[in-house]
Symmetry: C2
């Protein structure tokens, strides 16, 4: 018996993914592990995709409705999308093929807050769930399982689904055992407080209890997560990070933060990496993170003794950082907790710990409304993810963004956001390479001034003209609806949001 599968009953259910695919039927609701390219099942998606292709070649319908934690990898969303095997998908997707299907109306996507989905599934918003597929590191003798590099919605899916398929992935480090904190959500109308008062509080168990009688198949795999190499932050990212750190310093100076109580939430990417590099050389100490994803920069902060605790639901480490984590797992286990996403992203705990949220965006308007999901109003990119969970409940919510994209053809700050995922009531501070705009306590007309000040200089005159038109139209919020989307329509018509005459003046 494998040293990863210690339960005799479940060892008796080992089979190939192809055999296990017999348990998946056309139209099934399938819930899987996986969050931000970590911890998703590697074998079953390929087997389901193959089954779909065979069915389609026979002229038969075959699609599933796929529920995950968040994004997966090419070998999950990717292969399923290529096989046209996904009818419906939620929440969060970063796979390009599948995204194109959403935008073409060939697959359906419902963009749900990460903290909400588990509850909604269990409450039956989507009907029954036929199968849960979970990647695990290990099956214990008593039939409990050790999740892999993400926890996601594993608890809810295993509880709610009729059948469970386990993928035991020996590529995943056995050293992950002990990092998880599996807390089972209580019944909706019988809930008590979630007893986390400090980021590092453990409130559950290091393993997941499952109803082993529901397990119909166990698959053995040895395949890597979708880890991507670490990229050195570019100059713009460094400048944004510098402005973000200045904002933190100014909060300390104003008495609204101190050097030893910064609770971080951070999106993933170049700017957050640059922020974390900056924090290494800052006066901040005892930093904690109550966030979704553990990224490279957090390991650096932990190594340097700057960060004492990081709570998340998933890893998104470069291969080098993953190796480092495994080598020093004993050490990191004292500083890292992986929780179910219902807990890592829970409004109750987010509000309680007083965190400073920091997320990216597609565009924001001059009044501080944020588009995180739909390019030019309609083309979905990835989804809202956890940005709403954190932004809505943070002590201070911030957004970080380069002022322009596509070589200057797209301004991140627009007159009117073409889709709105975070409203003016929630977004407080915006940071670009030109500074930060603190919108707290301001009326919309005041907000516009501050937002324009951090826009790219090439776009400031155009934005000012828009606000002038809005002011002339009258109203608390100086919008001018007939030209609200002129940046977007110009982009569609000319390939740039920049007015031709402005470009000429520049030249």
């Amino acid at each position: 018996m494998s040293d990863r599968i210690l339960n005799a009953d479940l060892a008796g259910k080992i089979m190939s993914a192809e055999e296990a695919a017999n348990f998946i039927n056309n139209g099934d609701n399938v819930g899987t592990s996986g969050f931000t390219g970590a911890g998703y099942p590697k074998a079953m998606p390929k087997a389901i995709a193959a089954k779909a292709k065979v069915a389609h070649s026979r002229g038969e319908d075959f699609t599933i409705n796929l529920f995950t934690g968040a994004s997966t990898g090419d070998d999950a969303d990717g292969v399923l999308a290529e096989a046209n095997a996904i009818n419906f998908r939620t929440p969060y997707n970063s796979d390009r093929t599948l995204r194109n299907q959403f935008n073409a109306g060939e697959a359906l996507y419902s963009d749900i807050h990460l903290s909400h989905l588990g509850q909604q599934v269990v409450q039956g918003f989507f009907g029954p769930m036929q199968v849960a597929i979970l990647e695990v590191v290990k099956i214990n003798e008593d039939g409990t399982v050790v999740p892999s590099s993400a926890v996601g919605n594993n608890v809810e899916y295993a509880q709610y689904a009729d059948k469970i398929i386990l993928e035991v992935n020996s590529w995943q480090s056995a050293e992950l055992e002990g990092m998880h904190d599996i807390y089972e959500p209580e019944q909706l109308w019988d809930r008590t407080p979630i007893p986390i008062t400090n980021v590092g509080d453990r409130i559950g168990e290091t393993f997941q209890r499952i109803d082993t009688s529901k397990v119909v198949a166990v698959i053995e795999t040895n395949e890597a997560d979708r880890n991507s190499p670490f990229k050195e932050p570019d100059e713009v990212s460094k400048k944004i990070a510098e402005n973000f750190l200045q904002f933190l310093e100014d909060e300390v100076a104003a008495g609204r933060l101190s050097y030893d109580n910064y609770v971080m939430q951070s999106g993933v990417g170049n700017v957050p990496n640059a922020v974390m590099a900056g924090l290494l050389n800052s006066k901040f100490e005892n930093i904690t993170a109550y966030t979704e994803v553990i990224q490279d920069g957090m390991l650096d902060l932990i190594d340097a003794g700057k960060m004492t605790m990081a709570s998340a639901t998933s890893f998104a480490l470069s291969p080098e950082a993953a190796e480092r984590m495994n080598e020093k797992a004993d050490f990191y286990r004292k500083h890292i907790i992986l929780r179910p996403q219902a807990i890592s992203n829970h409004p109750e705990v987010i509000r309680r710990v007083g965190l400073i949220a920091s997320n990216g965006l597609i565009e924001a308007d001059v009044f501080g409304n944020v588009n995180s999901t739909n390019v030019s109003g309609g083309k979905v990119m990835n989804g809202i993810g956890g940005s709403g969970d954190f932004t809505r409940n943070a002590y201070i919510s911030s957004f970080v963004t380069p002022s322009v994209a596509k070589g200057g053809a797209i301004s991140a700050i627009v007159p009117h956001a073409s889709h709105i995922d975070h409203t003016e009531h929630d977004a407080m501070v915006f940071v670009s390479e030109y500074g930060y705009a603190d919108l707290r306590g301001l009326a919309p007309r005041q907000r516009a001034e501050r937002m324009i000040a951090i826009a790219h200089p090439d776009y400031r005159a155009q934005l000012e003209e828009y606000v002038e038109r809005g002011l002339a139209a009258g109203g608390h919020t100086p919008v001018h609806l007939p030209t609200a989307f002129e940046f977007h329509t110009r982009l569609a018509e000319t390939g740039s949001m920049l007015k031709q005459q402005d470009a000429l003046v520049e030249n």
Copy 2:
């Protein structure tokens, strides 16, 4: 000594409001009691307004920055606005004069979630607060105070302000004593769970502790709250209520609700009144309300034994209901709790108790984004109030609205909401007199079909045409930016959102 002012020290500080106005200076941040026209100070606003007028007549600047719980009355916001005495105001205002000043840019307004403001004030987002003015029912011998018909942000303002002025209003029933549950919010970085697990849990004291050394004046008043008479629901409201109750019944049928666990949150107005009248004759029992405001219909439900507990931060009763409440105060005290708005609207508790939120709106778009605040994008009406606190954290969030306003010239369902306060990620169910649209788990193109089905028949073709253009443009969300605001621009140009040819076809 008055039987309402039992503390000798504070009795020594009794003075006229005119005298007390000396403690208010130009540019002060002033925090007052008051929520939904209840419990606001009645004397000081007039005195401050008079002081401002004198100053202005001398050519001197005199304005204050006014922080409340929510809306007040003509004798507070109204008189101050008329005297041009308000520079900045937050959160929520329903006074017409002041609203006009916001829209003209003569006064500044920041539209903040009701659950957030207290924390933001205490954390210093607005700088120091010079004065807190609280209406109370009574000052106890030990210097503690009994709040009046609203709690609002009284705790935070009294804690944070340099000076406190108390208005002891003998118009307010002494029987209010015992209904309050005053829980002091903990320091931001030292918080423990809020120990409410059931709507009726009391976690604080029936009185408010204040630092009596900060009290600079005590004013005696005898003036009524802005109570408005109860209006019988009209036919459209009754039909909307019927559809809302059908939605509840369908949730029970689907196993997502049972007849004895409906936790209600409800906005104020005609439709909620009609819903509560309908609940009187429904199968629902043991209804509880975790909401902002106690309204007439809730007393009826309590009287009928249908509602066991109502938790709120304020009363909005008709004069008749208020009289009934006072007559049977002993009885109602067992079924009603008034909490600070930081607790009545707290995401933590809202999420925990699994409530069904139901709020009004200005307009919603076919994708389920909601405008609650700005007419035609820019003209602010009242503000977001607590609708975001509840919508974002409800078990199920719903919005109720007549399909049209202004005799059909305005459709409540539009192609693209001209301002967005609640996003597609939060809004789940919409109810009009034509039925309900359940958007849960749907992709935007599916949502549009359901929303159009509950729009007014005169507008359905126009809305369908818009979505067709969006689908032709391609994209996950079928928007068509060049015509996204055509309903609003047509309204501005012709006085109606309805296309002329549609109107002609009708005739």
